[in-house]
């Protein structure tokens, strides 16, 4: 009660809550859910891009992609660490992922079919992610906010690299340009859906806004993303697969077509073989690695015992 008042006051003043501070249980749970979901997205997100590392067309592009995927692993690490400050272990979080209880961003259930997908993921998917994440740099939970500052910096670097990859392909052969357009056709709507349901249908948003976790609404972020991206698409020379997409001078924004929410919920709820394959790949990696993790623990135990003996 008095803690609660102090907590509310801190939030209202735009201050940060730290790990050692009192916080409402629901706030803690919401943050764990959100941060771990974000962490899982980073590591599942290594798979669709990893699918093209061995086939990258030049050594430079291979190096850029490797570095990017490594960064994503790093983001996963910061985020798991941020979640751990809330009293949950990384192993528990991974167990929830592997058992299918925890979610990750369903965008990573879509397959990467051509090299252009790597560029489009950087441009659109990372672009949408940044839009979502920038407000989180000021989120009320300190460890999360600080992780997000680092992540956002790297993500915008990735976005530029993705866009650069596409620019190079658009300057290339007719086949390359077709590949880019095809990738844009496949990824545009899923990117738009990354902002989640419309504000009126969003379950968690109200309370999250109150807590200073969510500072801008889904629809506002989505609009911002569309407005920014349409200009970049012009420079690139690609067309978005939405005949209703056009500038609305009155609103000062782009209008766009209706989102296919059935598709969205099907993918979110794991009605897709993409989800099955991604989870299977993660579970296999985890199970195949069990003997390695056990060996490391056992070796550490032996070493400590020997030191103890020697002492």
């Amino acid at each position: 009660p008095e803690y609660q008042a102090e907590f509310d006051a801190r939030i209202d003043a735009g201050g940060y809550i730290e790990a050692k501070d009192w916080m409402p249980e629901a706030y803690r749970k919401t943050l764990i859910r959100q941060i771990s979901q974000h962490a899982h997205s980073e590591i599942v997100g290594m798979l669709p891009e990893g699918n093209w590392i061995t086939r990258a067309p030049t050594l430079k592009r291979k190096a850029i992609l490797l570095a990017k995927v490594q960064d994503e692993g790093g983001h996963g690490l910061y985020l798991y660490a941020a979640a751990e400050t809330l009293g949950v272990s990384r192993d528990e979080l991974l167990e929830a992922l592997h058992s299918g209880r925890a979610k990750y961003s369903s965008i990573f259930n879509y397959p990467t079919l051509t090299w252009a997908d790597i560029g489009v993921i950087g441009w659109l998917v990372d672009g949408a992610a940044i839009m979502n994440q920038i407000p989180l740099c000021k989120c009320s939970y300190g460890p999360y906010a600080r992780a997000m500052v680092r992540i956002c910096k790297e993500e915008s670097f990735h976005q530029r690299q993705g866009y650069d990859l596409l620019l190079a392909m658009m300057k290339g052969t007719e086949e390359q340009r077709e590949m880019v357009q095809d990738a844009v056709n496949r990824w545009w709507w899923p990117s738009i859906m990354m902002f989640g349901p419309h504000d009126k249908d969003s379950v968690h948003s109200g309370q999250s806004a109150r807590w200073g976790i969510k500072r801008i609404s889904n629809d506002d972020l989505r609009q911002k993303f569309v407005d920014a991206t349409v200009e970049q698409a012009k420079v690139l020379g690609v067309t978005m697969p939405d005949p209703e997409l056009k500038w609305n001078a009155e609103r000062g924004h782009h209008d766009f077509g209706a989102i296919d929410w059935d598709e969205f919920w099907n993918v979110v709820n794991g009605h897709g073989q993409g989800n099955v394959d991604r989870l299977a790949a993660r579970v296999k990696a985890w199970e195949d690695g069990a003997w390695v993790r056990e060996a490391a623990l056992e070796h550490e135990r032996k070493r400590a015992a020997r030191e103890h003996q020697a002492a």
């Binding site: 050594l59 430079k60 490797l66 995927v69 190079a168 300057k171 296999k284 993790r293 490391a296 070796h299």
Partner: protein
């Protein structure tokens, strides 16, 4: 450039070092997203990146020595199998994490010795690459050596797997030191060591760690592999069919 007319031994020597980095870097990148813990996903991606970086410098340099205008990508992606000069060890499948770490340890320990010697290469470009790469190789050898010890002296299962990995890979290390005419010419020109000279130092570096890992060092067998002479195992062709895919499918395209 230290010479005007292309010296085939020099080109081959640099290409060989570059191909080792290229092919092992490619193999290691297959781990991406599949490692036993997230830290190792990152470490493997990072070391793969180091190796691809080395390959880029070395193949660029080899292309300049050759003087036919081939760049790093033409050399990396547009040669046929028997023109790759990497050690067979580098092209073998990753298998489990144990075999991957044993391979990295055996290879990086060799690379450390080679880079150390190449610091003094009469080929100043190669010496500069060595200066940059030595630090990386030392980290790779340390990282993999730590794992070899952990896994060898871990559980019964990990010991067995790691010994099996060592038994499998060890015969391929004879190729590191196999004598060949190229190396004699290279040593004579003070470009770099004949690799056969590195054998004793390599064993001195490698055996103590294997002992600490409670592993049995296998006896040498008469088996010979010939990857660095351009005669590879069945594995390289499969690796290349994947690696070269886009360059072969869209000839001449810029990426």
């Amino acid at each position: 450039m230290t010479q005007q007319t292309p010296n085939p031994a020099h080109i081959e020597y640099v290409t060989r070092i570059g191909d080792n980095a290229l092919i092992l870097g490619q193999r290691m990148s297959e781990w991406c997203g599949h490692a036993p813990v997230l830290e190792e996903d990152m470490a493997l991606a990072n070391m793969s990146l180091d190796l691809i970086g080395q390959a880029r410098m070395l193949l660029t340099h080899a292309g300049k020595l050759e003087g036919k205008g081939r760049d790093e990508d033409q050399l990396a992606f547009l040669r046929i199998e028997m023109h790759y000069r990497n050690l067979t060890l580098c092209e073998l499948p990753n298998a489990d994490f144990g075999r991957t770490m044993v391979r990295n340890f055996l290879f990086a320990s060799f690379q450390v010795l080679l880079w150390e010697r190449l610091l003094a290469s009469s080929d100043t470009e190669l010496a500069a690459i060595a200066a940059k790469s030595l630090k990386e190789a030392r980290y790779h050898a340390q990282h993999a050596g730590d794992w070899v010890v952990r896994l060898g002296d871990g559980t019964a299962e990990s010991h067995e797997r790691t010994q099996a990995a060592l038994d499998y890979l060890w015969p391929y290390t004879a190729e590191f030191f196999a004598a060949n005419p190229t190396d004699e010419a290279i040593a004579a020109a003070a470009i770099g060591p004949a690799w056969s000279e590195l054998e004793a130092a390599w064993e001195a570096a490698v055996v103590p760690v294997l002992n600490e890992a409670t592993l049995t060092v296998p006896a040498r067998t008469p088996f010979k592999s010939y990857g660095k002479f351009g005669r590879h195992s069945e594995h390289l062709g499969h690796l290349l069919s994947e690696m070269q895919y886009l360059q072969r499918t869209y000839p001449g395209a810029q990426w």
